[in-house]
Amino acid sequence: MPRLSLWKDGKHSNDYKFIDRRVSEMFTISGTGVLLHKYLGPAFQGNTGDVTQPNYINQSERNIQDLLFLENRDRVYDTSVYKLRGIYQVSDSAFDLTQFGLFLQTGTLFINFHINDMIEVLGRRIMNGDVVELEHLIDYDTLNPDLPTALKRFFVVSDCVRSAEGYSPTWWPHLWRCKINPLVDSQEYRDILGKITVRQNYDGTESVNTDSLRDLISTYERYTEISDAIVEQAEVDLPKSGYDTDSVYTYDRDNIDEPDFKVSGYLSGSGLPPNGLPATSGIVFPSNPTEGDYCLRTDYMPNRLFRYNGSRWVKIEDAVRTNITNNDTTNKTLRNSFITNSATFTDVNGRVQTQKQNLNDILKPKAD
């Protein structure tokens, strides 16, 4: 009679199978529903011209988007959602207020899945980058009752190992332990968050709302509105750089109605005549001017205001005041003229090229 042994020289014995079915049954009975968004790999980026960012032919979770930084930024997730059962220890959590907003200080969970069931459903084990949704943590009662849907709770898998508690007496593992962190609305997960739209209201009727899940569940929109409000107020406080002298009356000691100067200061030139007097503008001076006429020459950079003194056009000031909101198209600063430059030119071969080009690319051959 052979000696009694649960270890069968590396074979999955019937003992193992028996225990594994019981474990699976336990997950079915007592596990919580988990919806899993399966990571499929980085999105096709085409030919980037960069060897460290390969152009893959096949979609695979083994592809690496950036071989230099070793990161997959633009991820693609399966449009199918996989239903699994998982078990974890529910614990209290607390918010940590950071500069970034409220973070769940103890938001990291460790959840176990049955290995064979997982592989049967998913086709592979859960890996880093997979996104899970714990169905029982859905929030129906947020502060905004007008939200067209309840807020779901998403986590991203950040670590996976065989669970120590999942080894049976046969020494074979049955459980897959995943460390999951609260999901952050970032570039990596936009394929999930931006793809899901709200279709159903609470009462089951079809929603006319076309917001993506990201619009509802992320703080991005709210913080963008805050950011815009701050910039708007900043533009109220300081519409343009320099000092506003247009509201200052220019007093001419000679009592001339059209003064030949303007109250000035550091960066105070606006290109407007003193005291709100009328001016023409153009790339040439008007014909038959009369003394005291003002003209803003728009072909000068910055634009230049002249006054006709009866015999010649005399410079009054340059229009140097500008909106200084960063990257705004009305920002006329030197730096911004390089950055928001959308101008084009035609080269000797008749090709229209953009003026704004990166230094390292300028001399490289370009396609016709």
Partner: protein
């Protein structure tokens, strides 16, 4: 009156700083449909209250924070000892505003308020700001780094307002440090969001409220003078107002120039009212040059001309004082460019309110002359010191108790105070002007020198001579 004041000076700098680092974008890679997209990065203050953070989270654990994002917070604010300047310095600036039409909401082409703004030296502080950049991957971080980094080389100007009189609004931001990452490299067990921190320094000024007053400088007076050549037709017995020309005569008051009227000269002094942060104290007066000052109006020519030419010996300077204006013709001094020869028109001098005095005497130090011993009736003197004392008078008219020069036997004692005017009435000296009892403004001329004096605030001063500051004197072409 409440002592409270707050104008959000640091708050406005924070607002402008956030504006400065706003509108940056990151380029996201192609999505499953092969489409690239740009994502604008929000910027907000990094030290929110828990209440607001909870509201932004919709009071739900399921709300997701978003990256990339940028947050700004104050790292420190310190008194900047190196930029301390004269704490008691007050700078004044005179401003004319354009009139504002509240109906249209626009400024008109007319002159509005004229203000004098007094500003107390602001207090220097060094404000340190932290800009945290939250990203989820290195490429994203480098995109933002590259865009932000070309902003500061090494500094960038920043303004908190565009007010022409706000001398604290302009500052600059200097990039002093970058902490590349908040994570360990490699990241270890946690895949947390990466934070890159820029540290900036802003030298700022915190200012007390200004004093705003109605402008105290008379800059322009237009007086209408009838021009008879155009107004009256020879032979006509009526005046045709419609046919007349009311010519306006302009009067110019140069700014920053002060005049000392002394004798028959006007001495020019220049005061510098330019606003400079580096001014340690009120600038002193310096001698001016009339040739330069006159250039602002044309020239002081030797021959009469038309237009805005001042004519040597014909054009006038007008001195305004509390009794009116003194006007006189001016001409260049032959040797001293800081002097103008001033011939005051006697008709413009204040009218004497008291009979003239023969002289000003100090009774404690006087040479006795026959004119004093045998004065004519009506002789008057202005005293610099008192004569006699009522306590010395014993009431006996047969004796003289006071100074013999001023008393006569059988006459009451003369008791006069300093600055009184005494007068000889034929038999004795008596007080004609009581300096103690008189509080009204009086004028009297010293016949000995021809100088007119003014009694005001219980003292005699020259009636028109003295310093005429900005706005108190003007050219009349």
């Amino acid at each position: 009156m409440s002592s409270f004041f707050y104008s959000g000076q640091v708050r406005r700098f924070l607002t402008q700083f956030i504006r400065l680092v706003s509108n940056f974008e990151v380029l996201l890679g192609k999505n499953r449909n092969g489409i690239n997209s740009l994502l604008r990065v929000p910027v907000y203050y990094g030290d929110s209250s828990r209440n607001v953070a909870s509201i932004l989270n919709l009071n739900s654990e399921n709300t997701m924070p978003s990256v990339p994002a940028m947050t700004v917070n104050i790292g420190s604010i310190k008194y900047d000892r190196n930029r301390v300047q004269e704490p008691y310095h007050v700078s004044k600036v005179n401003i004319r505003q354009r009139a504002y039409n509240p109906i249209t909401g626009d400024y008109t082409d007319q002159q509005g308020d004229m203000l004098t703004v007094e500003r107390l030296m602001p207090v220097p502080y060094m404000l340190t700001l932290k800009l945290d950049i939250w990203t989820s991957n290195t490429e994203q971080k480098l995109q933002l780094f590259e865009q932000i980094s070309v902003l500061f080389n090494p500094s960038l100007e920043i303004q908190s307002s565009d007010s022409y009189v706000d001398w604290t609004s302009l500052s600059y931001i200097t990039l002093v440090d970058i902490a590349w990452t908040s994570r360990n490299v490699p990241m270890g067990a946690e895949d947390t969001i990466d934070v890159m921190t820029y540290t900036f320094e802003l030298p700022i000024w915190i200012s007390a409220p200004a004093k705003v007053k109605r402008m105290g400088v008379i800059q322009k007076i237009i007086s209408s003078i009838y021009d008879p050549a155009d107004g009256i037709t020879p032979g006509a017995d009526t005046f045709d107002i419609q046919a007349s020309i009311l010519t306006s005569r302009r009067i110019f008051t140069p700014i920053d120039l002060n005049v000392l009227y002394l004798g028959n000269t006007l001495k020019l002094f220049v005061s510098d009212n330019q606003i400079q942060f580096n001014d340690q104290s009120d600038p002193p007066y310096t001698d001016g040059d009339w040739h330069v000052a006159v250039q602002g109006f044309g020239e002081l020519a030797n021959l009469p001309s038309t237009g805005n030419v001042l004519v040597n010996g014909i054009s006038q300077v007008r001195l305004d004082n509390d009794s009116g204006s003194v006007v006189g013709t001016v001409a260049y001094h032959p040797t001293d460019t800081s002097l103008l020869i001033f011939n005051a028109d006697v008709d413009t001098l204040p009218v004497n309110t008291l009979a003239p005095v023969s002289g000003i005497i100090d009774p404690l130090n006087i040479k006795v002359t026959s004119a004093l011993l045998n004065p004519t009736v009506g002789t008057r003197y202005l005293l610099l010191n008192p004569i006699g004392d009522a306590r010395n008078d014993d009431g006996d008219p047969t004796t003289i108790d006071g100074p013999a020069l001023w008393n006569r036997l059988g006459q009451p004692e003369l008791v006069a105070n300093a600055y009184d005017i005494i007068q000889w009435n034929g038999s004795r000296w008596l007080v004609a002007f009581d300096s103690v009892a008189t509080t009204s403004v009086e004028y009297v001329t010293n016949l000995n020198t021809g100088i007119q004096y003014k009694w005001k605030n219980q003292q005699w001063t020259k009636s028109v001579e003295g310093l005429y500051g900005v706005g108190a004197w003007s050219f009349v072409p």
